[in-house]
């Protein structure tokens, strides 16, 4: 049996569109009470719902520990704005920000902007990778100690610690430096769903957390190995990646006889993995997959957030904690700390350690 790695848990808190912040705050607090690593909030320009990054920014002061990961799309938004907004979420949450990178492939979304026609997913994921790359460079463009407040010389910042990024991509360029000082985590956490092929390459190259939708522990482990291999090919240390299995969960029937776990359950829909049953069986499934070394953790999307997240936290998570598989509190303050990821040094800082770093 492979050595057991720490288990990471995250949950999606989006459901049918809601516009009152109290709803989202209550869910994020619930996840926080379960010591989950982070919550995600899905987003797209094409379906009803508020801007996810703004919602999680609204949630930030009302929570203390849980990571906050909105979906931010890269196809129609300026890369400079993306990087500024995510860095600012990291500031207002005191180091708990991430972003889930996504692309907008449909003609309907393109027509909302009228700037460019819809493009194939592979092309858009390449661009998304460039946006992630440019964003990370902008986050690095202020060295950590750039603010000097030197009254003797009258300088607030040391301009030698600020850097143009001069990023040239296929569809955009950014000169830099960032307008937002380097965020508390150095770089907020980048999350990519790496299930489909065009996204997987971007995930392997740029993501800190990779989500994988697969129906068996074997398939998941296979994708995990593939992502790690590709990351290594890009010069990254694969151990700086966290691969989470993505499951949609429906715990609505918890009162009835528990359905068998996923493996013997109904085959899963094209959209990925769908678990229906009780919180205890879900805990068993998580335990099994994790013990098998298939994944570093799980990203759970409750079908009905109010109901299912409560059952996840009070049922599934409580049981995992009881089995000492999952922590009972957040030992650190930042999302990177929850995930066991180091705070990266700025690539522009002299003497930074190159090993395991993106270049």
């Amino acid at each position: 049996m492979p050595p057991i790695r720490p288990l990471h848990l995250a949950a999606e808190i989006g459901g049918p569109p809601r516009y009152d912040p109290g709803h989202y705050t209550a869910l994020a607090r619930l996840a926080e009470r379960g010591a989950l690593d982070f919550v995600t909030l899905g987003d797209s320009f094409a379906r009803p719902g508020p801007d996810a990054l703004a919602v999680l920014s609204r949630v930030a002061p009302a929570t203390r520990r849980v990571g906050l990961v909105p979906t931010v799309t890269t196809t129609h938004t300026e890369p400079f704005h993306v990087s500024s907004a995510v860095a600012t979420l990291d500031w207002v949450s005191r180091g708990r920000a991430g972003w889930q990178v996504d692309v907008s492939t449909t003609g309907a979304e393109a027509r909302l902007f009228g700037r460019r026609p819809a493009a194939p997913a592979a092309e858009l994921w390449r661009e998304a990778g460039e946006v992630a790359d440019a964003g990370a460079r902008l986050w690095d463009s202020w060295e950590d100690d750039a603010e000097i407040r030197d009254t003797a010389s009258g300088r607030f910042i040391d301009r030698d610690k600020l850097h143009h990024v001069d990023f040239e991509g296929a569809t955009f360029s950014v000169r830099g430096p960032a307008i937002v000082p380097r965020p508390p985590q150095g770089r907020p956490v980048t999350v990519v769903d790496g299930t489909a092929d065009p996204a997987r390459e971007t995930a392997a190259r740029h993501a800190d957390v990779v989500l994988v939708r697969a129906t068996t522990p074997e398939r998941t482990a296979g994708i995990r190995a593939d992502v790690r291999r590709r990351a290594a090919a890009h010069g990254r240390d694969p151990d700086t990646l966290r691969v989470l299995a993505a499951l949609t969960v429906d715990l609505g029937d918890a009162e009835s006889a528990p359905e068998p776990g996923l493996e013997s359950g109904p085959p899963l829909a094209a959209h990925g993995t769908y678990y229906r049953g009780g919180p205890v069986d879900l805990a068993d499934l998580i335990t099994q997959w994790h013990r098998a070394g298939a994944v570093d953790g799980f990203h759970l999307t409750p079908i009905t957030p109010e109901r299912d997240l409560e059952r996840i936290v009070n049922g599934t998570v409580a049981l995992l904690q009881h089995r000492s598989l999952f922590r009972t509190f957040h030992p650190g303050g930042t999302l990177r700390e929850h995930l066991g990821l180091a705070r990266p040094a700025s690539r522009y800082a002299p003497g930074r350690v190159l090993q395991g770093e993106r270049t």
Partner: protein, 446 residues
Amino acid sequence: MTTAPKQLHLAAHFPGVDNTTVWADPRSRSQIDFSSFEHLARTAERGLFDFFFLAEGLRLREHNGLIHDLDVAGCPEPLTVLAALAAVTDRLGLAATVNATFNEPYELARRLATLDHLSAGRAGWNVVTSSDAFTGENFRRGGCLNRAGLPQALGSARTEGNPLTRAAELVATARGLWDSWTPDGTPRRFAHRGEHFRVEGEFTVPRPPQGHPVVIQAGDSPEGREFAASAADIIFTRHGTLEAGRTFYADVKARLAKYGREPDELKIMPGVGFVLGDSDAEAQEKASEIRRQQISPQHAMLALEQVWGQDLSSYDPDGPLPESDPVPDAALVQGRVRTGDALAVAARWRALSREKGLSIRQTVIEATGRRSFIGSPRTVAAELAEYVAAEAADGFVLVPHLTPGGLDDFVDEVVPLLQERGVFRTAYTGSTLRSHLGLAEPVWKG
């Protein structure tokens, strides 16, 4: 019949790191930590202010090809900060500066509508524009526009196309999107086809609680005034003196009628500083000291080089101004709105320096800086009320020079005096920014 005195409106601006900030003061704290924003916003709400206002930066300024280490040294993205502040305030309006040149209407309308929902009707949008290719180097919009065969804006100077026409179309398109859901919450298809934008589809956010977030316009040019008269709820101005303020006020209010609007539908709010002391004399002394801190020798030399358009590092800030004339149209400073032509500014500065026998630094201290209200709390309250009574302003955007405690004294000492005079509210009467400003909700134009 006695009429109630005209009520004034108050907003608080979070000072960035620039020549209005005294960051070297030992009481000065972080310019970026959320705690600083929280303190200032909570103080403004304690003072029953109409709104809290954040500026935006899209590129760090550069001087002589180097990143400027004294001016506008970093700031967070305003809409995201304000969404967080909505969690720690209940009534305070939350206004973000968001550029109308480097954003697209669909996305911007969505982010602003979201802020209005998240704050239960407290969002405001300060529409600014940019015409410089320097800022454009951080954005791809120009490239996209060129490919689509639409009018190009990136790289074009003020002469080629007015960024205000894009801004006006952007605001109109955003309003259309905000109106695209029926008041009973049904989304409807939206289509806009104009000179700058083609937007087609369904908006993802219901009509904002305020109908439309409050629209603010900053600027002074005739086109800016016209734009504000046609489309804005508030106009920011730099006209701080009583006379200039009255002239500006009369001009702008007179423009409203042709858009079928009443004078009350556009509030005029200059951005002003303030310095309080136990006595007027003490406040004056403090103000001089603050100006000395704001305009350090280094800052004075930078300001001089910005006007003269050349490297003047061999000059002594405590010595006389250069005899030579400025280099016209020099791009020594980038990322800053240039005001006035350099030759005229230099002539004015030289005259001032000769007349009063001032050094470079003293001249810069005298010639620059925004209007400040300086005096005891009683003096400042009286002057503010006088400006509003005399129709030089409808209210003020206060710019404290200290972060984050720079508003504390004003709220504790001046606000009660304004209330005593009957010119400022003693409690919030509504919950939305529009209600604080006495502005009606825009009629739904589905």
